[in-house]
């Protein structure tokens, strides 16, 4: 049987037709079938072959019609269609990179803007996420609650603590919690190897149950068990100790035989029973060892004891913190009444209230609002940065109108053009994103030095996969946002207009073209955001300055302070004698104006609290419960601290055990309990281990002092002469205060050496100037002010660069118009005015919106402000002036360029 395909092909080619292989195949099967049928009907081979040849001849005659057209084929198939989306995308990316390399300035500005926006946002996100959202590192962290105690209607003296009474009643009978544990942080213990020098470390006394609450396991040895804690009359004796991983490495080189070894902690022997793993951080990073402790019973040895400490509980599964709160409060009300001590510690002796607060919430309560406000601010900043890049892209898109029109004319669809533009922004976004991530990592390295030491949960902040994912998503979102706007305008490209016009914009520039309008709108938005951020930053800075200069009641300049911790077995006589020696050695040194000691110092340690009953001299018929802060001070303490004596006299050298007992009160105490003539009145019932001599004559009144924050209300305070106090507990810690005539830091070494001379085993820590303490206390407000000011500065730079760009572009577009105007007699100042008016309109609208936004937004800031109203008039006037000045500077260069347009050249060029 003949093969019909070659025969068919030859026949078609001979007649000038080129048939598809597909068609040839089909005709060939037909021919074969016809041949077979003819043979079956009885035709001989030749006859059949001839008949089929006739058929072929017939087909060839109509050869031109034998063609199958591919379905839906376009006249000019676009080159990438048959190579798939991905290949086309690569082509777009390559083209985009080529374009950006030809415009390095645009690429640099766009990527830098993106990088700063993405970097700042990611860094702040990582901090917010790590601090506020990341679960604590303990097992089942959502069941951990901090337990706090208050008295109905009163603010406790030390927030976030509970007392021993409710602790014991709740421990004895609980159904909503699995366990409750407490701890006392001891910031200045000393630790020494058997025969080594003591060094100051922070330790915590913890209840054995605390480890159960945390579900912690030791790396070596064991945890505390009930009975480990010292009991009875010698509460200060440490018998066992658990080391942190760091201290174990440092002191024992990480060897396992550390277990069972004896160290000296605060002068007492303690046996190492356990080592915690390196990731066990509790309650803070500074704590390097733990000692066992159990809060004392309220009624022991016939004495009422009340202790306050921090407490943590673990909820039973399925129990809410509200249920635990209810149970805790019920148990607390069953605890023995601690009497007046409750008044001293909790401000009142009403019914106890226990609150169980999710642990993360309490830890982060004071930074949460600030972080959220800063996150909102950085989001605004990111939007501004993205909008700026979009605006730059729009300007490029306008310059590339012809390119887009040509591409559209030769068959590129809207989707194709959009993809090209989005691909170009994606390159900017990816470059900016990468640089932003590098910035985030750099910021992370710097975080420990940028953030205040007491910033909570810093160890949870890390550049992890979630943070990187956030940065990547941010980059993609920003790129798409930047690319879509120009693409939206490219979509409406007017082929004929773009290809035929001469490229110059219509008269009026800016607002007459749709991209010009879009860029002006972006500009208005940028100015509004800058205005909001700048107002916020200015308020925070003003508030910080106010905090710095606020009257704290004492004078922190040129004051050096240090803390001493005494071993428990030092008697009161030994303590005062040591301290007297130290200040006596310091006083005569050149440059030292005063040296004194006491048991309290603002921003460091608060001394003691005391509650007692007294009959106020102004109304002796009633007995009131006074609750006061109690300080023990040496002569010269007020002078050293710069605390002004407003009436009577300060504590003197002559106030000793043998002289009448005297006391100095602060103005709040005098006003609250003693009336207008406090000198000569007396305060009873202070105890102070003076046996029956329990009457203290008021000899002086001093100014109120702010202990912690200047926003705290001043508390009633009593100052007792150290030489008249018999109780060791009144001087368990001492502070040395030295006022110098010059810069105090050089005296730090002197203070240390003087202390060492007197008592080599005494640990000195926290040697700092009072000004540094104030600055440390203001670290958070300073941080918030600096961060927001940084954001505002960045936003203002972006707005200025944006305004410069928009105006320069508009001036370039209006060159011919300016030429015509100049030719018709417009002077340089007319044209400058024209450009400036355009700028100032934009700025004016932006500022108006910004000020309205700021008025609404600064209410969020009101909780952070001190000494300045959220609607501070000076700020709201100064910020617009600053922004207008910046805008004028940004517009001057383009305006001068417009004024210099040579009419002839401009018109000829057009």
């Amino acid at each position: 049987m003949p093969d019909w395909t070659p025969r068919l092909r030859r026949a078609f080619e001979a007649n000038g037709h080129a048939c598809d292989a597909d068609v040839l195949d089909e005709l060939s099967t037909h021919a074969a079938a016809a041949y077979d049928a003819l043979r079956a009907d009885g035709s001989n081979a030749n006859e059949a072959e001839r008949r089929v040849d006739d058929l072929i001849t017939m087909w060839v005659r109509d050869g031109a019609a034998l063609r199958r057209r591919p379905k839906g084929a376009s006249a000019i198939p676009p080159p990438s269609d048959d190579r798939g989306l991905f290949v086309g995308l690569l082509q777009d990316l390559r083209y985009g990179i080529r374009l950006l390399r030809r415009q390095p300035r645009f690429a640099a500005v766009a990527m830098l803007t993106m990088a700063l926006g993405i970097g700042a946002t990611t860094a702040l996100f990582s901090v917010t996420y790590g601090v506020l959202l990341k679960p604590l590192s303990w097992p089942d962290p959502d069941r951990l609650v901090r337990v706090t105690e208050t008295r109905t209607g009163h603010e406790p003296r030390v927030r976030g603590t509970m007392s021993n009474g409710p602790y014991h009643t709740w421990t004895a009978d609980h159904s909503t919690i699995e366990a409750i544990g407490g701890w006392l942080r001891q910031p200045s213990s000393t630790i020494a190897m058997a025969d080594g020098e003591p060094t100051a470390v922070a330790t915590s006394a913890v209840t054995p149950s605390l480890f159960t609450v945390l579900k912690a396991r030791p790396l070596l040895g064991r945890l505390f068990v009930d009975g480990d804690q010292p009991t009875g009359a010698a509460p200060d004796v440490t018998r066992v100790i658990i080391l942190s991983y760091g201290l174990w490495q440092e002191r024992f080189g990480g060897t396992e035989d550390a277990i069972g070894r004896v160290v000296r902690l605060d002068g007492k022997s303690g046996m190492v029973v356990g080592v915690m793993p390196s990731d066990f951080v509790f309650p803070d990073r500074e704590t390097r060892a733990w000692t066992p402790w159990v809060p004392p019973a309220v009624l022991g040895d016939g004495v009422l004891r009340m202790t306050i400490f921090s407490a943590l509980a673990r909820l039973r599964p399925g129990i809410t913190s509200e249920q635990a709160t209810a149970e805790g409060t019920a148990r607390a009300r069953g605890a023995p009444d601690p009497g007046l001590t409750a008044v001293a510690l909790f401000g009142g002796n009403g019914p106890a209230e226990i609150r169980a607060i999710p642990a993360v919430e309490l830890m982060t309560a004071d930074v949460r609002p600030a972080l959220l406000v800063l996150l909102a601010a950085v989001a605004l900043l990111l939007v501004t940065a993205t909008a700026n890049v979009a605006s730059l892209q729009l300007a490029r898109a306008t310059a590339r109108r012809r390119e887009m029109a040509i591409r559209a004319a030769i068959g590129a669809g809207t989707a194709r053009l959009t993809r090209q533009l989005v691909a170009e922004s994606a390159i900017v976004g990816a470059g900016g994103g990468l640089a932003g991530m590098a910035l985030t990592i750099a910021l992370h390295r710097a975080l420990p030095s940028l953030l205040p030491a007491d910033f909570p949960r810093m160890d949870a902040v890390a550049v992890d996969s979630r943070v990187l994912l956030f940065a990547v998503s941010l980059s993609i979102a920003a790129s798409v946002a930047c690319g879509l706007l120009p693409a939206w305008y490219a979509r409406r490209v007017d082929l004929v207009g773009s290809l035929s016009e001469d490229g110059s914009a219509p008269i009026g520039g800016g607002l007459r073209t749709s991209t010009g309008r879009a860029r002006t709108l972006i500009m208005v938005g940028q100015l509004a955001v800058s205005c909001v951020l700048l107002v916020g930053a200015a308020l925070l800075v003003r508030s910080f300055v106010a905090l710095m200069h606020a009257d704290r009641g004492y004078d922190p300049t040129n004051v050096l302070t240090a803390r001493l911790s005494f071993p428990a077995d030092y008697s009161m006589e030994r303590r005062t004698a040591l301290l007297e020696h130290i200040v006596d050695r310091l006083r005569p040194l050149p440059g030292v104006r005063e040296a004194a000691y006491g048991n309290a110092l603002p921003l460091l340690t608060s001394g003691g609290f005391r509650g007692f009953k007294m009959r106020p001299p102004i109304n002796p018929s009633i007995e009131v419960e006074a609750n006061v802060m109690e300080r023990v001070v040496s002569p010269g303490y007020f002078g050293a601290l710069g605390l002004r004596v407003t009436a009577g006299r300060p504590v003197k050298d002559t106030d000793t055990l043998t002289s009448p007992q005297v006391i100095v009160v602060n103005r709040s105490f005098a006003a609250k309990y003693l009336g207008t003539h406090p000198i000569g009145t007396a305060v009873p019932n202070l105890g102070m281990c003076r046996g029956d001599h329990d009457r203290w004559d008021v000899v002086g009144v001093v100014n109120d002092m702010r202990q912690e924050s200047v926003t705290d209300r001043p508390q009633p305070e009593l100052f007792l002469p150290a030489r008249q106090v018999g109780c060791t507990s009144a001087l368990s810690q001492a502070v040395v205060v030295v006022r110098t005539s010059g810069d105090p830091p050089p005296y730090a070494a002197t203070v240390r050496s003087v202390v060492h001379e007197q008592e080599p085993s005494l640990a000195v820590d926290s040697v700092m100037t009072m000004e540094d303490r104030v600055m440390n206390a203001l670290a958070k407000p300073r941080l918030y002010a600096v961060v927001l000011a940084g954001f505002a500065g960045f936003a203002v730079v972006i707005a200025a660069v944006g305004l410069f760009g928009v105006l320069s572009y508009s001036v370039a577009q209006r060159t011919r118009e300016f030429g015509v105007r100049a030719a018709l007699g417009a002077q340089a100042h007319d044209i400058v005015g024209l450009v400036m008016r355009q700028a100032l309109w934009t700025v004016g609208i932006g500022l108006l919106l910004g000020l309205l936004g700021a008025l609404a937004g600064t209410r969020l800031l009101s909780t952070f402000l001190y000494g300045v109203s959220p609607h501070d008039a000076l700020t709201f006037v100064a910020v617009p002036i600053i922004l207008v000045a910046v805008a004028v500077i940004a517009s001057l260069v383009p305006a001068r360029r417009a004024a210099k347009v040579d009419p002839l050249a401009a018109i000829r060029a057009a």
């Binding site: 089909e26 099967t29 058929l55 019609a65 034998l66």
Partner: protein, 114 residues
């Protein structure tokens, strides 16, 4: 001239409707279609086999039929055509048009169709 044009259009239209009608029953290949047209009209409709394939390709272009290559064991590879949804609609329309046409012929000229 006018007659020949009409004849050609008629023929062209009728070829299309014949093919669509045959494919309405089941899918078929080109040779089978040509054989069936010849057989069923008892040779009355002797259309040029030459016009079969151009018609098939035209119908395919219009989306009324679609062809695909089918290989069966022991047989040659063949291209089978079947009606598309559009083709089915077009056939129904053609049928009603032809019905109307024959009805008109019957009324006007007394020509009946079976």
């Amino acid at each position: 001239m006018v007659t020949s044009l009409l004849e050609r259009e008629l023929k062209r239209g009728s070829t299309e409707v014949l093919i669509l009608a045959l494919l309405d029953e089941r899918q078929r290949h080109g040779y089978e279609i040509s054989q069936l047209i010849e057989e069923r009209s008892n040779g009355t409709i002797t259309f040029h086999t030459a016009s079969l394939y151009p018609t098939l390709y035209r119908l395919e272009d219009k989306g009324l039929i679609e062809g695909r290559w089918v290989e069966r064991a022991g047989q040659r590879r063949r291209r089978y055509y079947r009606l598309t949804r559009g083709g089915r609609k077009a056939l129904a329309k053609q049928r009603s048009t032809w019905d109307t046409f024959f009805l008109a012929l019957d009324r006007v000229a007394g020509i009946r169709h079976a």
